[in-house]
Amino acid sequence: MKRVLSAQLAGFMVRAASLLVPRRDRSSWTAEWTAELWHLCHPHGCESCVAPDADPVEFSLGAFHDAFWLRCDRIRSDGLPILQSGSAARCAFLLSATAIGALLVCLCLPGARSALLPLPWRGAGNLVMISSNGYAGTQAPSIRLTDYEEWTTDTATLFTQIAFYRPIDKSVHLPRHPAARLSVAQASDNLFQLLDGPVTYAGTSVAEPGEPRLVLTRSAWRRIYSGDPHLVGRTADIDGRPVLIAAIMPDSDWRFPGHIDAVMLDNPANLAALPLGTRGFVIARIRNSAFPPPRGGWRKMVETSRGVTRGFDCISVTHLLGQPSSVFLFALLLACLALPATTALPLGDYPLRHRLLPGTVDARRWIFLAVKFALVLVIVDLWSTGLAYGLEPNDPIRVLYIQLATAFPALLFGFRWILQDQRRRCPQCLRLLSNPARVGQASCNFLSWNGTELFCARGHGLLHIPELPTSWFSTQRWLCLDPSWLCLFPENCSPSPGMI
């Protein structure tokens, strides 16, 4: 009983070790070890190998060593799979390398990096931009300051907080630093509190009551002030007013329309002193009980304290800033629709349930196809995002157009390449087929077959591609070769059991 169990365990170990063996040697290797194990476990079957005291499990442990040696030897002789020309591993490796390259490029471009990173604010789903003219109104200062001031009281039931900002160029003077012209977002002092982001203020204890605070972006701090480490806590002069430099924030923390070098947080009294016609952007945080966060644009009517009903559009910030992914999905949809019109979709005629093509081989083919699609999607998404934000980092509308214009053709050509590449691969080893040969001649009535034949260099089969699709031979056909042909192919000439 114990011997039977150990024999079964040994058989299992041999099968497990066979997974380490290169595919083309596996059947022969497994057959040899199984035969040796059989003779070990059946000593009476062969007089020359009587081994009643031999332990099958101990014997099978050597199978792992043997399989590992065989794998290493194959790598030494053939090189790594990714170095073999035309191999599936090489194709996947090159696509992965391209995707990593695109990712690195995107990370190097500040605009593209911001587009890829998640929003830095807590509860960003509840943030909305208020516009008087839908999406178009979010790209330029469109809300009058007087409207904002009215809404701060009139919309208390809708929003927990509401903040205002307007981009403006200001001259900033600092002792021991030359005067600099900065693009400043003059904002209500609750802006960062509303956003609930990671910006913290250093040195607020020294701020005078009512004194505005300036939060510099990191790029402006480095570019204009050479990364002066003692800048935070000092007081700058902006338009003759003292402004405390309160913090340095990462550039990626500012995602709203308008390129800025700094945010100047001003108290309501100072904002109220601005000219009446001043226009800017308004951001609000929705009160959860008021209405569900809008998934895109949403119009809200509010009755003001003067009894007038006013309407405005709430545009979800996550939707607004997530436009690049929406555009990419739209480009993907267009490419999927255009693909059948530009190329044939069938991958060819393969023998179903063929004894020479086990299910795992077929599954591997489909997995490889899916991996190629996934990698091409990632590559196109990253490259189109990088290109769009690299060319027009400060114009969200142009960014979308550039991304659509680059992503659609890239996806279409990428998908065409994927299908063409898949059709030119051996379904068994997934290597590119080679040695194309033209067979036959076109006849007057097109009844004689003519086309191209390609070989798998490892002798797995032949691919017949018709020159002219006919009703009886419309797509390419794969012809499997049985192992007796393998000896003709030098790359795969390990004999199988029973071969003389």
Binding site: A31, A35, F59
Partner: protein
């Protein structure tokens, strides 16, 4: 591999065992006392270097004996000349695993 190439003692033992008529991996193990994890990789290395060749026995023979077919090994001409060169390096090899000719000579005496 050249005939005067230096083989390790283990490889030389395995080569000598095959020459002595132990043509299956398991019988080489039995003769040399080496574990399977040493014998099989060494035989593959010897085969790769052209010192031995393997062949599957005929399916019909295995079927007649109701057992799986085995892979057997034999020396090549290069293997034989390498072995002759190896005897000079390991003089006791032939005494440890006598080759058929030596055995016949001993029996004749």
């Amino acid at each position: 591999m050249p005939a005067d190439a230096k083989l390790s003692h283990t490889a030389a033992m395995i080569l000598q065992a095959i020459h002595a008529g132990q043509i299956y991996g398991f019988s080489v193990m039995e003769m040399t006392g080496l574990p399977s994890g040493t014998v099989y990789p060494a035989m593959r290395r010897l085969e790769r270097d052209g010192l031995i060749v393997s062949k599957w026995e005929q399916q019909s023979i295995a079927d007649a004996e109701q057992r799986p077919p085995r892979k057997y090994y034999r020396l090549t001409r290069t293997g034989r000349s390498t072995l002759d060169a190896v005897y000079k390096r390991y003089p006791l090899l032939e005494k440890m695993i006598p080759s058929p000719e030596v055995e016949q000579a001993v029996e004749r005496r």
